[in-house]
């Protein structure tokens, strides 16, 4: 836009201490041609103050009238419109005049869960460069930033110069990580029935997806109970798939084993993959998108009865999405065991695991 129509005001948003902050590299919007470019975004966490400086520059010798300058911090859930869903269509109209989301042109905001703004400057005239500091103190961020196939959760600071004609605005994206502080001391919290679920619910409102696995872990407090899955095809294959627990921090290692009780398949190889399932939209027309985040061969060749195949999968090195759940979409992770036989047939078993971020 700016290429064709030179904006009279140049807006620059600088976040405090931006250079020294932790950054993430997020692939640039999937839809827009430039695939190779990565966005480098500063990382914030829940409750952190976002402060910075807005610099407005006017062309030399020009003055620009404005109806006031506002700064806003916005957290929004953007979606690709799905099959003319009624809810999303409504909300997009209602929300703003900008038709596309900040990050991806194809996605349109469905909900702005944060929208805080205040005026930096009353209506007036801009004559030369002017700096305006801004600050959103202790900003609560409900969701972690997310960029998926169908859904984005994005945060940005938006500065708008209101004018009579077209408003001039500039956004500055940042990234939010939500750290779960619960699993730091999982063991010490003994016998305190309240603390554990408490800690979990602070972040996620009734994590539906995790409820089943929670039921598994609920019984034992001291140590996470290993998950044991009995998988089999009658008279053909019978294995025990066992891994240490059902909830992992993103830095953790999945350790487990596969025990072959019966194997009549001619197995070519076996792999473990981590599937991130993003489901978006409301119930009747929700859209499921699976993406394989990790693909990890754990066995080569065909074992016989009695063999135990070790599993060790470091999660830390991968770019994974922790589980998210909200009204509009949720993200779940599944551990999937895939056995490929010599004829190319695939046999698989998925088991949900909860991923969360820790410091």
């Amino acid at each position: 836009m700016s290429l064709f129509h030179k904006s009279p005001v140049d807006i620059e948003i600088l976040l405090d201490g931006e250079e020294s902050r932790k950054h993430v590299e997020i692939p640039n919007a999937a839809g827009s041609g430039s695939k190779t470019l990565n966005d480098r975004l500063a990382v914030y966490e829940d409750g952190e103050t976002i402060s910075g400086m807005v610099t407005l520059r006017v062309k030399e010798g020009k003055r620009v009238e404005h109806l006031g300058i506002k700064v806003a911090v916005i957290g929004s859930i953007d979606m690709i419109k799905t099959s003319g869903g009624n809810g999303s269509g409504n909300s997009s109209k209602r929300l703003s005049n900008t038709s596309s989301s900040v990050s991806d042109a194809r996605k349109t905001p469905v909900e702005q869960f944060i929208c805080l703004s205040y005026d930096l400057c009353p209506p007036g005239e801009l004559q030369h460069a002017q700096n305006f500091p801004f600050m959103f103190k202790d900003l609560a961020k409900r969701y972690e930033s997310y960029r998926g196939k169908n859904v984005d959760v994005s945060y940005y600071v938006k500065v708008t110069v209101a004018r009579k004609s077209i408003d001039i605005s500039k956004t500055k994206k940042f990234w939010v990580y939500l750290y779960k502080n619960v699993s730091l001391p999982p063991a010490p919290i003994v016998n305190n029935e309240e603390s554990h679920p408490n800690a979990e619910t602070t972040e996620e409102n009734g994590a539906d997806g995790a409820s089943s696995s929670k039921a598994l872990t609920g019984g034992l407090r001291k140590e996470p109970k290993p998950v044991k899955l009995d998988i089999g095809i009658e008279n053909c294959l019978h294995i025990e798939f066992e891994f240490s627990k059902s909830q992992y921090s993103l830095k953790e290692v999945i350790v487990g084993r596969i025990y072959f009780l019966l194997s009549r398949l001619k197995i070519k190889h076996m792999e473990l993959s981590l599937i991130t399932r993003e489901s978006s939209g409301l119930q009747p027309s929700n859209c499921l998108v699976d993406s394989t985040a990790i693909r990890y061969e754990i066995m080569d060749g065909s074992p016989v009865k009695g063999e135990t195949i070790p599993i060790r999968l470091f999660l830390g090195g991968y770019d994974l999405s922790p589980d998210v759940s909200c009204n509009y979409f949720n993200v779940k992770n599944y551990l999937s065991l895939v056995i490929v036989d010599e004829d190319g047939r695939r046999y698989f078993k998925q088991s949900e695991i909860v991923l969360f971020r820790t410091r």
Partner: protein
Amino acid sequence: MSYAETLEQALLTVKQQAMQMQRCLQQRKLMDALKHTSIMLTELRNPELSPKQYYELYIMIFDSLSVLSTYLAENHPKHHHLADLYELVQYAGNVVPRLYLMITVGTSYLKCPDSPRDEILKDMIEMCRGVQNPIRGLFLRYYLSQRTKQLLPEDATEFNANFIITNFIEMNKLWVRLQHQGPLREREQRTKERKELQILIGSQLVRLSQIVDDNLSMYKDQILPVVLEQAIQCRDIVSQEYLLDAICQVFPDEFHLATLDILLDATTHLNPDVSINKIVLTLIDRLNGYKDRQEQEQGQEQEENTTSKEVKAADINLFQIFWNYLSTLNEERPDLSLQQFIPLIESVLNLSLRWYPENLQNLNALYKITTQKCQDFGSDIPPNCEYLFQNLLTLQNSESSTLRPSSNFFYKLISQCESFGGLLALQSLPLQKSALNSILDVLLHNEVDFDDENEASSNEGFLIDSKENLCSLLSIFEPLTKLGPPMPSLDRKGSKNVKGTGDHFPADEDDNDDEGSWILDPIQEKLAKLNHVVFQSVVKSSDPIKDIEFEMEVLLTLRNWCYKGGKNIKYTYPAIITNFWKVIRRCHLLATRCDSENTKRHTELIKQNFKYVSRSTNDLFNMCGNSFSDALYKLNIQSASLADQLSLGEIAYDFFSQAFTLFEESLSDSRTQFQALVYMAQSLQKTRSLREENYYDSLIVRCTLHGSKLLKKQDQCRAVYLCSHLWWTTEIALIGEEEGVTTDFYREGKRVLECLQRSLRVADSTMDNIQSSELMIEILNRCLYYFIHGDEHDTHVSVRYINGLIELIKTNLKSLKMEETTTAKTQLAEQRLSELHIDDAQNTAKVSNRFVIGSDGSYIDVPTVNGGRALVSTKLNSMYINEMIQIPIQHFNRTCDYILNQRDVDDRFKVIVI
């Protein structure tokens, strides 16, 4: 990432990636280097490669990874931390490259002093389970083993052993599994591939043996049971055979000695299809080798006291262990076929021979169990087993020369192990025959190279010390005595049965193949030799003076034994008779030396022996009859000569008369008769003891009479003029006679002349002119002999007589020449024509020298070309008449030349007119 399709491509990729990796390492770009390594390792995922190709690839990659490993270890704390790298490489998506990287990094980490060794090792070996494909898994684990070779903690042998054993067990499982992969029809191929890979498994055992060093208790308690357990449980033939073989080969001899029972026990639990005997054979070879080496060492350091090891080896009764093993095996595995069982016994036999060469009881026990087994097995032994028995019985399989049994050993074996004979008797006849044949060879062989220095000690031959032993020895060979000569009919199946069942062979199937039955029979020949050897050994072992009776006894035993051979005695009896002669001669020697009392005794013995000889010849006659009469005749004459030499005229006469009887009754062939008479005349002429009682007279008259009654005139003529010598005894220098000194020569010139005249008459009446002339010339020569050796009034051969004879011959020759002239032209022309194309030039040149007349009157066609075959014919070929005529003429010319020459020496010859 995918792998290349062909080996060439894969090798190329590996080469390229290895180069890039090294370049990156030089530039300290570790991450890039790892990336290239990972691409390189992807080639190892290729499932299409055969084990050999995979190995090729593996070798190449191994080298490249060594470079990486060195880099990693050198730069460890400075540029990176290996613990981090160990985690990092685990992000590799494919399991095979990941594990290779892990092992490379892990082992590099082990090189650093502060690394958590045990954890790393445990982790690596645990994670290796991820590769379940046999070939890839085997190589991966081999890689692990190679990389950790130098890096296992030195102080924790037990840990190391466990580590290696774990790896070994997994490798073995993979190896066994390889057999069951792929389609059924490729099973053979699988087995072949597995054999190619077996070295990988074997390397683990080698590693174990390096680790265990000389820690016997550890080997015994921890390693061996586990390894054996693994071998037994996998139930795989290839694996079991290889593993046990490898165990036998890899670990030290002392260990085997100490754990022999465990090891042997394990073999009883193996898959029934595993050939136990191979394993036991290896083991025994090993133990025998150990014994060899020990003895060598002992030889080298005799002064230094041998260590406790030696004592240990001596403590264990190896044979007992193996014996127990065999017994249990016999009980528990009745399914073991003879093919499997007998090699086992043979191995144990070799062991016993090597370790307890003196202990024949062991062998006896072994033969006994074999006999039992054979009996259990039933009468018919599969023919493919026979060579096994042959080996067992002849002990031929022991390869080292020290083990090769000597004749003495065989003698002991046969005389002391009663089971040996039992086992032998169970075998089929052809097998018995060939086994005994081999044993015979050994028994006889030693006598042959008696002076071979190396084997002098073992080569003393056997000494027969008692009659019982002799009997058992002989009874072993009894089957041989009964065997017929290898007649052409032996090949026929029918005759085999006949031989197997009956003790007596049908009297030589047809009587008219008397000559055919004289085929040289090597076995009977050897038996005859054995007679000699036995007798020699008896002579050697016994006191030469006192034990003559014992020797005789032995000879009688031998004779009785040979007698069982039926017709075959014609091969063996001569040997016995000869030995009797020897005894007689020795008796005579003793008799002349000893005092009177002993002389008497010995004279008695001599007579006794002659009786035995006579008895033997009678046996021969009764058994063999006509087919053997010629040889029998000669044996009689020789016995007679011997008796004569010992001045036993009566006995000599007896033998001579027997010879005559034989001549009259059995010698029917005219040519044989002639030869026999010549021989008789020869022997008689030398006799000295027959003068009394006119024995000599009657004998020589009879001889001459027989000569004059021969069928053919030429034979008559020759026999008679030869017999003329019977009346003209000549000196025998050996017994002190001398011409001119000794006066009592038996000479009657009148009879001599009579003989000559008689033979001349016969010669004259011969129809064939050539023969007749030739005979006359021969008589002339005889006359000249007497003319030289005696005075005219002694010999009655006068100048007149000789001149007359010469005249007669001349006339005859003249008429012969006439015969030549009448026929020569046509004959020559014909002959020329017929031989023109063959050898014209030679024929004309040597025409006169082609034919000779033999002493029995046959024409011999001497070939003109050197190396050709002489043709003997009794009939005159009229085609060559001219050459024939030349024969007497030239003979006469030679005789004349002689006479002319004699004139220079002897004046009497001047009177002879030529």
